[in-house]
Amino acid sequence: MKTIVSCRGIEKVYKQGAVAVPALRGVDLDIEAGEFATLAGPSGSGKTTLLNIIGGLDRPTKGEVVIDGQPIQRLGKNRLAELRLHKIGFVFQSFNLVPVFSAMENVEFILQLLHTPRVEARERASQVLSEVGLAGLENRRPSRLSGGQQQRVAVARALGPKPAIVLADEPTGSLDSKSADDLITLMENLNASSGITFLIATHDPRVMSRAHRNIVVSDGRIVVDERRTTANAA
């Protein structure tokens, strides 16, 4: 199976004045295509730092990260932005939609950044919005959508460019339990039907219980990496 994410010896040290604070202490991790994995751990364990490094939003102090065959530590700001645009879909905890754009435009915008022709971008945006269950709500702005619906738009936006992997940081953190459940089901179904790779940083036991692989980070190290069969996960 194709490796989408490969991390070797990742270390990250933050400077707080003269004090060096290690956030990651030698992380080795591979994520294969089609995986539905969670990255769990207590606050301050380093899971968000690891997710940010995998997503090219932060740079490791030491170690090597390869995304879909592309080593990223020596890429400049523009090349990293290009990599994120082409290969990585992001879903953040607090929806993070452009408030003056409709649901359709939020998805379309990213496709247009990829120079997708306008008509094609519109068709694709419409298709992914329909896949996440938002058919009929395409022209609503975020302020006229519920929290769950906004997070679905964020998922649709992440899926629009057909990325190699979707990185989700606490995607259910701001949702009520019904909306959170619906979102997990949606991501699970997308993974099952389209083989989209998901890596989800979460505290939420409902997410972890439905993932195929649970990776637990503590004190900057992976302390548990447990693979489960689909039957177990269900």
Binding site: N52, L57, K77, F90, V100, Q112, L113
Partner: protein, 406 residues
């Protein structure tokens, strides 16, 4: 992609209507002030000063005998144009010309004697080159070159304590060195600026030549050309037609008026620069605030893969729309301000001040669409340039830090 970038920029204007409105007002008022005071009035004063000089007696250029300008006396006369010079004066780019006899003289009424400049003119030609014949407020202008009456400034008539229909004596040195003296009947009084009213007295060209013993000779030829750009070519052509004569543009003959004309252009630049600086401070503040309020969103866009240069473009587009609309509003306000004064602004009680500046009582405000467009585009582009700083700041946002902001 451009479509949604423009759309995002446009819709972002509505995020903070108060800030957008304040920026519109700042830009529109600055543009209005630049156009009305920096352009319309300053140009009107500068062109007024130029026209007051050129349209008095000077013309856009003059021909004299060599060294006349160093010592303008009756002994430095030149022959009336003939031959090649006459041909050059009668063809383009020269449009009109008029000969003058001009000498310093003394005018004497029953009560007073005053120093003046005595001029012999050809009234028909004078009308085409000077506005003075049209400024007759009482009586008549001269009929022809042999007219032996005199036209004086209204103010001079008052100072001489005389009136139309009365006689005055003109005394001046004749060509042969003796004192020439002749009596003239006042037939007309001209108005306009005080300076010319006190300085000039006009009679027919032939009459002045006869009185001063200048048969066939004159002091100067004033001429106009098709436009300012044609003046150097006209001077060159006239000089070649009569090499011993001195041909000069009005800028050399009236250096003080030219200095005012030039100063007005500098004032326009300085005034516009000050207004622009004030406007730029307003724009930069508003855009920094706009960028600050959207730090999280701009960070998100970069996290999703928007390149830093596109963030700069995004913020710049927003500014371009904001400033562009403000500039158009300012242009509209300036046009509305100009409309009631399109036939000139009578300065009334302020006329004396304008005359000191060299301009006339009526200012012809200048609102040329070409100049307005050039200034507007310049302000728009410079405004956009000032927003590159906030735009660059936005592009340097660290996505992780930006998105962690509440």
């Amino acid at each position: 992609m451009r479509g949604l970038l423009v759309s995002l920029a446009w819709r972002s204007l509505g995020r903070s209507p108060r800030r957008t409105l304040i920026t519109f007002v700042v830009v529109a008022v600055a543009m209005w002030v630049i156009l009305v005071f920096g352009m319309m009035f300053t140009k009107a004063l500068s062109l007024g000063a130029r026209d007051a000089t050129v349209r008095l007696l000077t013309g856009e250029g003059q021909i004299h005998a060599a060294h006349y300008l160093d010592d303008p006396g009756v002994d430095r006369a030149m022959p009336e144009p003939s031959g090649r010079l006459l041909a050059a004066l009668n063809r383009s780019p020269v449009t009109v010309w008029a000969p003058h006899v001009r000498v310093p003289a003394t005018i004497r009424s029953e009560y007073r004697s005053l120093g003046i400049t005595f001029l012999g003119v050809d009234p028909r030609k004078e009308r085409s080159i000077s506005d003075l014949p049209r400024q007759i407020e009482f009586g008549l202008y001269l009929k022809n070159g042999t007219d032996a009456s005199i036209v004086l400034g209204k103010h001079l008539i008052e100072r001489l304590k005389t009136r139309i229909g009365k006689r005055v004596i003109i005394m001046s040195q004749a060509a042969d060195g003796h004192l020439a003296e002749q009596s003239f009947t006042i037939v007309g009084a001209f108005g306009g600026a005080d300076g010319p009213q006190d300085q000039f007295a006009f009679t027919g060209l032939r009459t002045a030549q006869a009185m001063l013993g200048l048969a066939g000779n004159i002091s100067e030829v004033s001429f106009d050309v098709t436009d300012d750009s044609a003046l150097p070519a006209a001077i060159d052509s006239l000089h070649r037609a009569a090499p011993p004569l001195d041909v000069q543009p009005w800028t050399a003959i009236e250096p003080f008026a030219f200095a005012i004309y030039q100063e007005a252009a500098s004032q326009e630049v300085i005034f516009s620069a000050i207004m622009f600086a004030l406007m730029a401070i307003g724009i930069v503040n508003a855009q920094l605030m706009a960028v600050f309020e959207r730090t999280r969103e701009l960070g998100l866009l970069q996290a999703l893969g928007m390149k830093p240069r596109l963030v700069v473009l995004q913020v710049t587009l927003e500014s371009a729309l904001l400033i562009g609309i403000g500039v158009l509003i300012g242009d509209g306000l300036a046009a509305l301000t100009f409309a009631p004064f399109r036939n000139g602004l009578d300065l009334g009680a302020l006329a004396a001040g304008a005359e000191r500046y060299g301009a006339g009582r009526v200012l012809h405000l200048q609102f040329q669409p070409g100049d307005v467009a050039t200034l507007s585009v310049a302000v728009w582009l410079l405004g956009i340039l000032t927003t590159l700083w906030p735009a660059r700041r936005a592009s340097r946002t660290n996505p992780i830090v930006a998105m962690s902001q509440a």
